[in-house]
Amino acid sequence: MRFRIALIAPALALAATPGLAQDKEIRIGYINTFSGGAAVYGKHQKDGLELALDHLGWKMSGLDVKMIYGDDQRKPDVGRQQADKLLKKDKVHLVAGITWSNVLAAVQKRVIRAKKIIISTNAGWSAMAGKNCSPYFFTTSWNNDQTPEAMGELMNQEKLDNVFLISANYQAGKDMLTGFERTYKGKVAKRILYRLGQRDYQAEISQIRAAKPAALFGFVPGPMGIAFVKQYRAAGLHEKIPFYSVFTVDYLTLGGHGKAAIGTYHTSYWNNNSDDPVNKRFIADFKKKYGYHPSMFSAQAYDMPMLVDSGVKGAKGNPNDVKAMVAAMEKADFPSTRGKFTYNTNHIPIQNFYRREVRADADGNPVIVTTGVVKENHKDSYYKECKFKW
């Protein structure tokens, strides 16, 4: 027995080491997809947040910032394992990241149960805005429904009646249509749900043409969208039936779309052309450091360390004072790429949504241009269902 204790004692001492260092550093666990077909989402976000840390000098209120990354492989169970590892082994002060709603659903439980802050830099699972809301949860992105709600509003403003809807046959795909139809007041020509992962859309394109709608609204994310936009243009439909999309065309995918995306429209929370000095510096430094144009994913990830920094300041340099951190972060008092905004009572941003379109620059290459505000200070549709429980 004595022998065992002799072994345990140094082990305990080892385990306590991170605790000793707690005055000198803040440890941020960052979970995202860094491998597999969706690794590009993780890359754009990691590049964005590391640029913010460069701007902060990798210091927050005198504390050194230590980033610990975890790859969720786009799987909820792997994400949960990463969260457990970050919380127990690395003893992180907070967890951030996550691109997919189903991974967020798995990770948030662990982090919130450990009474630590979790910040989503993308996933906008609606339950986190409503019945599953938590004071420990923040997002630097949006609630899923906000962007399609803005799109419905845009189509009302442009007096587009008889719109064809196309979306993916899974939960997020249906949520996009629900969000769109919550605000869209015109007639729906027809709706099609395509198979997740589909690569050939000629059959859908034939149906769209046959229905003769005034416009097309679509949610075709990632590589599916690259295939769809290319095929839509090859069929010559882009001029007759304009394509309005959400989470389909962005700087993340624009290289793949190429010129085929020119003449398409989408809504986004990020005004990439804004004159806001934070935004301009972000874009210029990002291009200089990484050699490519930041996407909206990079922009919202850039905000995460800034938000944490504001929290640490409010907690007077003590990242273990979670309540003080949350109270400071609620004020959204930090330089954001989207300019000044406020947090709603559920910690989802109340923010503007913009109309953006893809145009050809002087060399004929596609660029995204923000052409107006669709909805100012747009609140999500769930905040009234949110009751905080510490």
């Binding site: 046959n169 000629q202 090859a234 069929a235 190429g258």
Partner: protein
């Protein structure tokens, strides 16, 4: 749905089928003649697309990219065969599946390291951009017609190669009795390497034709690989004729099913339910077809005479 739209959808299905044939031709050749299950066929498809996209981007010429892609695909195929597959011929299929699955992971990660995780740009070449009106009010993209022509040319070329040339005769002989052909003084090892290289070129060509209408990205071959296996199982492993017929059949079933089912099902269930269930049932149709074909003809529609 009008009759005209139905005709158009059938055409879409046939076009998709010819594309599927392009993807599966090399696979059926390698599996039928060499008796090797090559899951890395999807990786060769991806490599072909990446080579073509890169050199199309550098030279600005689609045809020049084709000329450069073919030898690169051939070399990639030969290297895979010599380094990894040669030791697998005498092992059973499970070992081959395991080894070539490893190759998939290796190539996906290599491509990500070299080109990055982003989708690579590859537009429709200017001279093939545009559309022609083959049905009233339904302009058809020129590039898709080119895909059909390339697919048919590959089918005809392979058929002639296998049945009408000396090398085709040797390939068939090697498939039926490897040891005997070797004993007659033919370098069977070289022959197999060539067949695998030819399969790699076909996979690369399919990848190149997919580039302008799909996304060129790591892992792009995997979805196609599953359909390609369905094609060659239905068509009869090793049979070029079977692959042509099976792929067109699958293309039509998949596309027409997908466009009709959600609306047909709305007649006897709710609109909402049909919209969700329709695409799900439609995506099962080809597997139902495969099960039915295998029930009546366990060796596929056109079992290859050899192997």
């Amino acid at each position: 749905m009008t009759w005209l739209l139905l005709i158009e959808q059938t055409l879409n299905g046939a076009q998709f089928g010819v594309f599927l044939f392009l993807v599966s031709a090399g696979l059926t050749l390698v599996l039928g003649i060499m008796n090797v299950v090559n899951l890395a066929h999807g990786s060769l498809f991806m490599l072909g697309a990446y080579y073509a996209a890169t050199f199309f981007g550098l030279t600005g010429s689609f045809l020049l990219a084709l000329v450069i892609m073919v030898p690169l695909a051939l070399i990639s195929g030969i290297v895979i065969e010599v380094v990894a597959l040669r030791t697998m011929y005498d092992r059973d299929h499970m070992d081959q599946v395991l080894a070539t699955f490893g190759l998939i992971l290796f190539f996906n990660e290599s491509v990500r390291l070299v080109w990055g995780p982003e989708s690579q740009p590859m537009p429709v070449p200017d001279f093939l951009d545009g559309s022609v009106e083959i049905l009233p009010e339904a302009p058809y993209p020129v590039f898709r017609i080119v895909v059909i022509l390339v697919g048919l040319a590959v089918g005809a070329g392979l058929y002639l190669l296998i049945t009408r040339t000396k090398i085709g005769m040797l390939i068939r002989a090697g498939a039926s009795n490897r040891a005997m052909v070797g004993a007659l003084g033919v370098n069977i090892r070289l022959l197999y390497t060539l067949v695998f290289g030819l399969g790699a070129i076909l996979a690369g060509l399919a990848g190149m034709m997919a580039g302008p209408i799909q996304s060129v990205e790591p892992g792009m071959g995997e979805d196609m690989l599953i359909l390609a296996f369905v094609v060659i199982v239905i068509g009869g492993i090793g049979s070029i004729r079977g692959a042509v017929i099976a792929s067109v059949l699958i293309g039509i079933v998949e596309v027409v099913g997908r466009s009709i089912l959600p609306f047909a099902m709305a007649n006897f269930m709710g609109e909402d339910a049909a919209q969700t269930a329709g695409p799900a049932v439609a995506s099962m149709l080809i597997y139902v077809l495969m099960a039915a074909v295998l029930f009546f003809k366990p060796a596929g529609l056109f079992p290859a005479q050899a192997g």
